[in-house]
């Protein structure tokens, strides 16, 4: 299946300006059935199980069932992605549960400043020194054979 959509939980993102899973899927797999207002994975055998759709779904309607041609049934891996960390619940076929929490970013969402606060070291377009360098390299200068 790989990613699949639970009918009772999916509302087609009707309150949003776009269907979240359809917006994010890197392989253009998730698509909204406008008649039913439910999303679905149109090409499950092309799914990488990247979980982008699972993580972004506002109603937790998308889950993943391991590839049926080599994964035994009965396990699940479920993320809850917040603004600065992600919680994972791993359920084993034999019922064992493991939970993990990992940080995902150290800055406020949306606030990545392109130059990272590093000073511009050159105005010369011909120089091999890039615009945040040498400050961003941590060196006094960028090595060269010249």
């Amino acid at each position: 299946m790989p990613s699949f959509v639970i009918t009772t939980k999916c509302d087609g993102c009707k309150a949003l300006d776009k269907t979240a899973c359809q917006h994010i899927c890197p392989n253009d797999l998730m698509v909204l059935n406008k008649d039913l207002m439910k999303a679905y994975n149109r090409e499950p055998e092309m799914c990488w199980e990247c979980y982008s759709c699972v993580k972004i779904c506002p109603t937790q309607a998308v889950e993943v069932r391991g590839y049926a041609d080599f994964v035994p049934l009965g396990a699940s891996v479920t993320p809850m992605r917040g603004t600065d960390s992600i919680m994972w619940t791993v359920k084993f076929r034999n019922g064992t549960l493991k939970r993990f929490k990992f940080p995902i970013r150290s800055t406020e969402e949306g606030k990545a400043v392109p130059d990272g606060g590093f000073a511009t070291g050159t105005e010369d377009l011909k120089s091999p020194v890039l615009y945040t360098e040498p400050a961003s390299s941590g060196m006094a200068k960028i090595p060269s054979l010249k």
Binding site: P2, E45, W48, C50, A68, S76, R105, P128, L130
Partner: protein, 630 residues
């Protein structure tokens, strides 16, 4: 005829792709473009937050040289890459990326990527060049900086680029189509920065049911970069240097943490360690067989020899590695418990950050790594010049990293520019500069962007685009839609029709040819002149039949073009393996008719397709080292 609006976008620099290299390019280009009053436009076939190979995240940054603290020198990195690639590498390109890569990593950290630190505040290394990260949102963070630099008004998502627009031998833009609405796009540009990734699904994958999509490298990387540069008449390099990763079997979870961080061994079904029992084989591949670490392709080769002799399965000895770590705590039960908890978290994060399928597979198989060993295997071949393969366009090196000997051969005006004027290549798009990975691809994007802006400032003339030619390109791109519409209904099942082929079956046909004749999994990665020639014959008929590809909707139209791109990547690959009459990377492919390395092939095997005559030219180029000067 499908009714498509044509939308024209005029810009100065067009960045095609949205992955790590493209994001690096966006950040650097935005700065220099603003300074010189130029416009930069980026086109991505997906959504930048989760596009490219890092979409899922990563658990490590594989290239960090540590120049500022003197951990390594540029020469160290260049030596490592040259040896891993059995001597065939462009040291000027590798050094150029290596001198800028630490900057990219420092920028990632400022943007918000959590990089592991030790108690002294230093980065935690997985291996000599690898840093451990909490990388679930690696791509989200890197894309954010790129988007903030360019502004969303200059970014087109869900537009799939197919062909270059040419003015004579110069590239002046690109065409493509939206996968969301019936719009055909014409991007006119003074330079195009190609960063559309490598290629997956050229070869038949091990899993061909639902697990077809579980390639190690993402299935949406379809050879767009190679196709674009080939069609622009650019010279290509290392098209034979595919990569075959050895990973946890089937789900392809990463092995780096187990090998490097937890010091695990791999053994065969008889509990033998092929790195020891097959040591003598390394003598055949000197000098590279003697270097440390043993090159990736030779490690593969020793393992494959065991597999070919029926000595599998091959196991990662997780239980042994954990027992070894535990032994250090035998008198410290509390410390042992803490250590095991830490190790468990690290091991699972390694999967959850970048290959969630592997976590599902372990959970579904009730794997307790401290109790049972886990199987590893060689995946199918991929085209990924940014990793341990080397395929990509043949690009100019930087001016200031040439020697007197290399300059006339490796430098033609602008760093990382292809032999086609106006095309710059980064990440998987540029060849012979392996081991750049995510961070180095970002750095190469930055390098390319500055050089592309310099090219535009030096060549300010407006792109000349032939309107008639664009109409021809449009008709050709939309052909699969029209072909389907014109023929459907004749049969009671739209999938089976004597006049057309749908893209999925077309892909399977390509994969079968490559698997059986060009040394795929089924052929145990072995091939020969006779097999390759037969493969080329089959590919030529596939190419003829590509005219009959049929698409029902925009999504399938994208699939048609992805598979045409794969087919071109395949042809370049087969022709180049044929041209190089030796075996140099035995763990990537083995030519049974030319089974060893030859001195006269201490050279690059390049190829070029001529758009005018529709013919291929094979070119041998010298390998010139600069390492003694670094």
């Amino acid at each position: 005829m499908a009714n498509f609006e044509t939308r024209e976008v005029s810009t100065d620099l067009l960045i095609v792709g949205g992955g790590m290299a493209a994001c690096g390019a966006a950040v650097e280009a935005a700065y220099w473009a603003k300074k010189h009053g130029l416009k930069v436009t980026l086109v991505d076939k997906a959504a930048m937050d989760r596009s490219g190979a890092v979409a899922m995240g990563l658990s490590a940054i594989n290239q960090y040289v540590g120049l500022k603290d003197g951990q390594n020198t540029l020469k160290d990195y260049v030596d490592y890459v040259r040896n891993d690639l059995m001597g065939i590498t462009r040291e000027d390109l590798v050094a150029n990326i290596a001198r800028h890569v630490d900057s990219s990593v420092h920028l990632f950290e400022k943007w918000g990527l959590p990089i592991w630190k030790d108690e002294k505040g230093a980065y935690v290394h997985e291996g000599r060049w690898q840093l451990m990260i909490n990388g679930e949102s690696y791509k989200v963070v890197v894309a954010e900086a790129a988007k903030n630099a360019l502004g969303m008004d200059n970014i087109y998502e869900r537009v799939f680029i197919t062909e270059p627009i040419m003015d004579g031998n110069k590239c002046v833009g690109a065409i493509g189509f939206s996968v969301r609405e019936n719009v055909f796009y014409v991007f006119k540009a003074k330079a195009v920065l190609v960063a559309m990734g490598g290629a997956v699904h050229v070869f038949k994958p091990r899993s061909s049911g639902e697990g077809l999509g579980r390639a190690w490298y993402p299935p949406w990387n379809s050879g767009s970069s190679a196709y674009f540069t080939l069609k622009a008449g650019a010279e290509m390099t290392c098209q034979e240097v595919r990569f075959i990763p050895v990973r946890f079997k089937d789900a392809y979870g990463p092995v780096g943490a187990w090998f490097l961080l937890f010091k695990s061994r791999a053994t065969n079904g008889l509990d033998e360690n092929y790195m020891e029992t097959r040591k003598g084989e390394l003598e055949k591949w000197v000098p590279y067989g003697k270097v440390k670490p043993v090159p990736a392709n030779l490690r593969n080769w020793l393992m494959l020899l065991d597999v070919q002799e029926g000595k599998g399965p091959i196991f990662m000895r997780t239980e042994e590695a954990i027992a070894n770590i535990a032994a250090a705590y035998k008198d410290d039960p509390k410390g042992y418990k803490t250590k095991m908890k830490e190790l468990e978290s690290e091991a699972w994060e390694d999967f959850l950050d970048m290959t969630i399928s592997q976590a599902i597979l372990w959970a579904a198989s009730n794997v307790a790594p401290e109790e049972v060993k886990s199987e590893i295997a060689a995946a199918e071949p991929y085209f990924i010049g940014s990793h341990s393969g080397a395929s990509g366009a043949w690009v100019s090196g930087p001016e200031d990293l040439q020697t007197d000997k290399s300059r006339p051969v490796y430098f033609w005006g602008y760093g990382h520019m292809a032999t086609t004027p106006g095309i710059f290549c980064a990440g998987d798009a540029s060849g012979a500069s392996s081991h750049k990975f995510s961070s180095g691809s970002h750095a190469e994007g930055r390098i390319c962007a500055k050089e592309a802006i310099r090219y535009i400032v030096d060549h300010p003339e407006a792109p000349k685009v032939d309107a008639k030619k664009v109409e021809e390109l449009k008709a050709n791109v939309l052909k699969p839609l029209n072909h389907f519409a014109a023929n459907k209904g004749y049969t009671s099942d739209d999938n089976i029709h004597p006049e057309y082929i749908r893209p999925k079956m077309f892909m399977f046909r390509l994969q079968k040819i490559m698997d059986e004749y060009a040394g795929g999994v089924t052929a145990q990665f072995k091939t020969s002149k006779s097999l390759l020639e037969k493969g080329l014959t089959l590919l030529s008929m596939l190419k003829e039949d590509s005219e009959k590809l049929a698409a029902e909707d925009l999504h399938e139209l994208m699939r048609c073009w992805e598979n045409i791109q794969r087919m071109w990547q395949a042809e370049a690959h087969v022709r180049t393996i044929l041209f190089r009459e030796e075996t140099r990377w035995p763990g990537y492919y083995f030519r049974s008719d030319t089974p060893g390395m030859k001195d006269d092939w201490q050279a690059f095997a390049n190829c070029k397709w001529d758009p005018k005559s529709n013919t291929w030219e094979m070119i041998k180029r010298p390998v010139i080292y600069i390492n003694e000067k670094l």
